[in-house]
C-alpha cells in the first residue's frame, strides 16, 4: 500500500470512509510484547544447548534400560551357582564358555552370574530408591520449609528440632531403622526420608526468609493479598530454579549414599549397585577380576553424573534471568 491513493476519487463520504473507535479499557491494558510462557522458555533455553539434548537422551535411555532390560531377561543370580567353571570369567572367556550374548559383555561374577545383568538389576533398585527418596524428601521439605520460613513461631520450634536432630548421626538412625525392621528396600526408603527432609526444609526456609520481607511482598501484603497467595504467586516462582537445582544434587546423592551405606555394611538386602560394589570389593585386588568391581562403580558414576548434569542445567534454564534474549 505504498502508492498514494486519492480518496476523493472514490466519491465516498467521510462517514463511509472512517468509523469511530471507542476507547477500550481492557484493550489498553494489554501489552503488545511477544507472549511469554515460563515453562516454554525453560525448555527453549534448555534445548538450545546441544550437549543437554545428548545428556538428556542418555539419561532417558539409561533409566528406560534399567527398567526394561531386567524385566525382559529374568535375571537369576544363582543360575550357574553349581558350575565351578562359570565363576569369575573375563568377558572373552564368558563369551567363549556360554556363547556370545549381550549379558556376558562384562564377564561373569563370583557365583557365575552375568555381571551386566547384575548391574542393570542393581541400577533399577538404586534409581528407584533415589527417585522415591527424592520425591518424598523434596515434597515434605519444600512444603514444611515454606511454612517454617513464613511463621516466626514455627521457626523458633523448628530451629530447636533442627539443631538437635542434626546432631544425631544419620548412620545411627539408618542402622537403627534397618535393625528395627528388616533391611529391605522400603525400610531404606523410610530410613532415608525420616530425617532426610529436614535439611531440605532448612534450606528452603532460609530462601523463604530472604525473599519474604522484600519490598514487593510487603507491598503485596499491604494491598491485602493472602499469605497463601503470596506464597504461591510471589515466592514459589522465585524458588523454582533453586528447587530444581537442589533436586539435581539430591537425587544422585541418594545413589551415592546407598553405595556408601552398603560399603560399610549397613545397606539393604537387595542387590543394589552399592551392594554389588561391596560384594565385589575383594575382586578389585585380584588380578583379572577387576572388571567385576569397576563396572558397577563406573555405571553408578555415570548414572549420578548424568542425573546431576541434567538437573543442574535444567536448574539454570529455569532461572528466568536466562530467558532474556
Amino acid at each position: 500500500m505504498n502508492e498514494k491513493m486519492d480518496l476523493s476519487a472514490l466519491g465516498l463520504s467521510d462517514e463511509e470512509l472512517f468509523s469511530h473507535v471507542d476507547h477500550s479499557q481492557t484493550e489498553s491494558e494489554k501489552i503488545t510484547a511477544p507472549r511469554y510462557s515460563y515453562w516454554k522458555s525453560v525448555f527453549r533455553v534448555f534445548f538450545r544447548n546441544k550437549v543437554n539434548i545428548i545428556i538428556l537422551s542418555l539419561l532417558i535411555f539409561m533409566i528406560l534400560f534399567a527398567y526394561i532390560y531386567p524385566a525382559m531377561t529374568h535375571y537369576d543370580p544363582f543360575a550357574n551357582l553349581r558350575d565351578a567353571n562359570a565363576k569369575h570369567l573375563s568377558p572373552a572367556a564368558a563369551m567363549e564358555y556360554f556363547g556370545p550374548d549381550l549379558k556376558w559383555i562384562l564377564g561373569a561374577g563370583a557365583s557365575g552370574e552375568p555381571t551386566f545383568d547384575a548391574i542393570w538389576n542393581g541400577s533399577r533398585i538404586s534409581i528407584s530408591l533415589a527417585l522415591l527418596c527424592g520425591a518424598i524428601n523434596m515434597t515434605i521439605g519444600v512444603l514444611l520449609g515454606a511454612i517454617w520460613g513464613f511463621s516466626k513461631r514455627v521457626d523458633a520450634i523448628m530451629m530447636e528440632i533442627y539443631n538437635i536432630i542434626g546432631n544425631v548421626p544419620l548412620i545411627l538412625i539408618i542402622s537403627v531403622m534397618a535393625m528395627l525392621f528388616s533391611p529391605t528396600f522400603w525400610t531404606m526408603v523410610f530410613a532415608m526420608t525420616v530425617v532426610g527432609w529436614l535439611s531440605i526444609a532448612f534450606f528452603i526456609r532460609t530462601q523463604v526468609v530472604i525473599i519474604r520481607d522484600r519490598e514487593y511482598n510487603l507491598a503485596s501484603r499491604c494491598l491485602g493479598t493472602s499469605t497463601i497467595k503470596i506464597a504461591m504467586k510471589n515466592i514459589l516462582p522465585f524458588m523454582t530454579s533453586v528447587i530444581v537445582t537442589m533436586l539435581a544434587t539430591e537425587i544422585p546423592s541418594y545413589i551415592s549414599y546407598e553405595v556408601f551405606l552398603s560399603y560399610i555394611g549397613m545397606g539393604m538386602s537387595e542387590m543394589s549397585l552399592g551392594k554389588l560394589i561391596y560384594a565385589a570389593e575383594s575382586a578389585m585386588v585380584t588380578p583379572g577380576w577387576e572388571i567385576e568391581f569397576w563396572s558397577p562403580v563406573a555405571i553408578a558414576s555415570i548414572i549420578t553424573v548424568v542425573l546431576y548434569v541434567v538437573g543442574q542445567n535444567l536448574g539454570d534454564a529455569s532461572d528466568p534471568r536466562t530467558h532474556m534474549e
Binding site: N167, I171, L172, V176, L180, I264, F293, V297, T304
Partner: protein, 530 residues
C-alpha cells in the same frame, strides 16, 4: 558479648542432652535386644533355663537392665553379716519347684521377692527343666532372679553424673588399709628419681594416696609434657569394641607395638618393659594377688597403661584431617577465586567439571580410583602403624582433600561472583577505582566472611576422621569407631561417640560465629552496641 556466649553455650548444652536422650531411646528402647546374641558363640552353647539367665546377665552387661540373681542376694546378706555361713549355705539351695523349698529357703525367697517387687523389679522363678525320668536337662537347673529395665531418666541421670570424675582421697574404700590418705606435692617425681639413683632430677608432681590415680599431676617427655589425672572424662564404657575401656580412652590411648624401655619400679627393681608408671591406678588387693606385682610395686597402685609406638585413634585422624584441611584451603580458595575472575574461560570450565565430578560421583568410586592410581605410581596403599615412612599418609590425605577442595572452590566462586555483581562494586567502579583496588579492598574481604565461618568446624572435625577413607586405607583412626560400635551393638560406645560429635559440632558453630564477628565489624552479638 559474655552474656550472649553464655546463652549460646547453655543452648548447646541443652541440644547435646537432647541428642543423648534421643540416642538412648533409639538404642535401648527401640532396638530388639535379642540381636546382641546373633554373633555370640556362647549363646548357642547354653540351653533351657541357663539360656534365660545368660541372656539376663548379658543384657545387664550391655546396660539394658538391672539383673539380681537370688544367689547374689543371699551372698550379699552373708557378706553384710546379716546371716551366718550355715544359713547362707542352706538358703541358697532353692528347690526344683517352689513347693520343694525348705522352710528356711522359702523364708528368704519370700523376703527376696518382697524386697525387689517393692523396688519395681520383676521376680522370675524358673522351675527345673526335667526329663520324663526326673533327671534335670542340660542347663535346666532351677533359677530365681529379679530383673528390671533401667528407665530412661535413671539411665540419663547416671550417665551425666558419672561423666566427670574428680579424683579424691576417698576413692579407695575406707575398709582398705593403705596408710595415711592425702595429697602430697613433690619437686622430685619418684618415677624420674628411682630409689638409689645418684643425681636428683627436678620434676614436680602431685601424688595422691587414697585416690584412683597415684599421679594426679606430672611432667614427662611426651606431648603436651604436662599431664593431669585429677579430672577424667567418662563418655561411656565399651563392652565389645574395646572391652571395659572408656570411649574417650579408646580414642586417645596410643596404639601399635610396645615401646620397651628400662624402667625402675618403686621397689628399685629394673626391667625392660613398656609400662607407664605415671598412669598407675588403684586396684584393691592387686599387689598380693600377682607375684610380679609384689616384686615391682610397694602398694596397690599396680594397674598401669603401656607405652606404644603409634599415635592414638584421634591422633591419626587429626594428622590426616588437618593436613588435608590446610591443603584444601590453600588450594581451594585461590582456585575458586581465579575461576570467578576468569568466569566462562577455560579455567572456570575445567574447575566446574572437577566440582561436578566430585559432587556427583559416589565418594567410594573416586577414592578407589585414587587408590588404584596411587598404587600404580608406587605409593603405599595400606597404612602400617609400625612403619616410620611418611609416604603412607599421602593417599589418605589426597582422598580427604579432594572433596574439600571442590567444596571450597564452589563456594568461593559463588561468593566472589555474587560480590562482583553487587551494587557497591558498580558504584566503586563508577567512582574510578581500579579493578585491583576494588578486588583487594572490597570484594575479597566480603567474599571471605562466609568462608571464615566454616574454618573452626573444619579444623575441629578433622579429628573425627572419615569413615570410607580410613576403611579403604586401613588407617587406625577414629572414623570407624561409630560404625564398629553399631555393628557390634556396643551401646556405651554409641552414646559416647555421639555425645563427642554433638559437643564438637556445638563448639565449632559457636567458634565459627565468634570468628565471623571478629572478621566482620558489622556483625555484633551484643544487642546493646547496635
Amino acid at each position: 558479648m559474655g552474656k550472649y556466649l553464655l546463652k549460646r553455650l547453655l543452648h548447646g548444652l541443652f541440644s547435646v542432652i537432647c541428642v543423648v536422650l534421643i540416642v538412648m531411646v533409639l538404642i535401648y528402647s527401640l532396638l530388639d535386644r535379642g540381636k546382641i546374641f546373633s554373633g555370640d558363640p556362647n549363646f548357642n552353647h547354653t540351653a533351657s533355663n541357663n539360656r534365660i539367665t545368660y541372656q539376663q546377665s548379658r543384657w545387664e552387661a550391655f546396660g539394658y537392665l538391672d539383673y539380681v540373681p537370688y544367689v547374689d542376694y543371699v551372698n550379699r546378706l552373708a557378706a553384710d553379716g546379716q546371716i551366718d555361713e550355715a544359713t547362707r549355705a542352706e538358703a541358697v539351695k532353692i528347690g526344683k519347684t517352689a513347693d520343694k523349698d525348705t522352710e528356711l529357703t522359702a523364708q528368704y525367697v519370700a523376703q527376696f521377692t518382697q524386697e525387689y517387687q517393692a523396688k519395681g523389679y520383676q521376680v522370675v522363678r524358673l522351675d527345673a527343666d526335667t526329663k520324663k525320668n526326673g533327671q534335670v536337662r542340660d542347663g535346666g537347673q532351677q533359677a530365681l532372679f529379679a530383673t528390671r529395665d533401667i528407665p530412661l531418666y535413671q539411665r540419663a541421670i547416671t550417665y551425666f553424673t558419672k561423666m566427670f570424675f574428680i579424683d579424691n582421697i576417698h576413692y579407695v574404700p575406707e575398709s582398705a588399709d593403705i596408710g595415711e590418705r592425702g595429697i602430697q606435692f613433690t619437686l622430685y617425681d619418684p618415677v624420674h628419681n628411682p630409689e638409689g639413683a645418684g643425681k636428683k632430677v627436678f620434676s614436680p608432681a602431685i601424688i595422691g594416696n587414697g585416690t584412683l590415680h597415684k599421679y594426679l599431676l606430672y611432667f614427662d617427655g611426651r606431648f603436651p609434657f604436662i599431664h593431669q589425672n585429677i579430672l577424667t572424662l567418662h563418655l561411656g564404657e565399651s563392652y565389645t569394641v574395646n572391652r571395659g575401656v572408656d570411649v574417650f580412652t579408646t580414642m586417645t590411648e596410643t596404639q601399635g607395638s610396645y615401646v620397651l624401655d628400662t624402667i625402675t619400679f618403686p621397689t628399685g627393681v629394673t626391667a625392660d618393659r613398656a609400662d607407664d608408671l605415671h598412669s598407675a591406678t588403684y586396684v584393691q588387693g592387686s599387689r598380693d594377688a600377682i607375684a610380679s606385682n609384689q616384686q615391682w610395686f610397694t602398694d596397690d597402685y599396680t594397674n598401669v597403661l603401656t607405652n606404644k609406638a603409634g599415635m592414638s585413634k584421634l591422633g591419626y585422624s587429626f594428622v590426616i584431617g588437618i593436613i588435608s584441611t590446610i591443603a584444601a584451603y590453600v588450594i581451594g580458595l585461590p582456585v575458586g577465586l581465579a575461576m570467578a575472575l576468569r568466569k566462562d574461560k577455560l579455567l572456570d570450565k575445567l574447575g566446574t567439571i572437577y566440582i561436578m565430578f566430585i559432587i556427583a560421583v559416589p565418594s567410594l568410586a573416586y577414592i578407589f580410583l585414587f587408590k588404584a592410581l596411587g598404587g600404580k605410581a608406587g605409593l603405599p596403599t595400606l597404612f602400617d602403624m609400625d612403619s616410620t615412612g611418611k609416604l603412607m599418609y599421602v593417599l589418605p590425605i589426597v582422598s580427604l582433600a579432594l572433596p574439600s577442595i571442590a567444596n571450597l572452590m564452589k563456594w568461593m566462586r559463588r561468593y566472589m561472583i555474587d560480590q562482583m555483581n553487587s551494587d557497591y562494586v558498580k558504584f566503586a567502579r563508577s567512582g574510578g577505582l581500579s579493578e585491583g583496588e576494588i578486588f583487594s579492598k572490597h570484594i575479597w574481604k566480603n567474599a571471605l566472611i562466609p568462608i571464615v565461618h566454616g574454618i573452626p568446624g573444619s579444623i575441629i572435625f578433622a579429628m573425627t576422621g572419615a569413615i570410607i577413607t580410613e576403611r579403604v586405607y586401613v588407617v587406625p583412626g577414629a572414623g570407624n569407631l561409630l560404625t564398629q560400635a553399631i555393628n557390634r551393638y556396643d551401646n556405651g560406645v554409641i552414646v559416647g561417640v555421639t555425645l563427642f560429635y554433638a559437643v564438637l559440632s556445638v563448639v565449632s558453630l559457636i567458634l565459627g560465629d565468634l570468628l565471623m564477628a571478629t572478621v566482620d565489624p558489622r556483625i555484633s552479638f551484643s544487642t546493646k552496641e547496635r
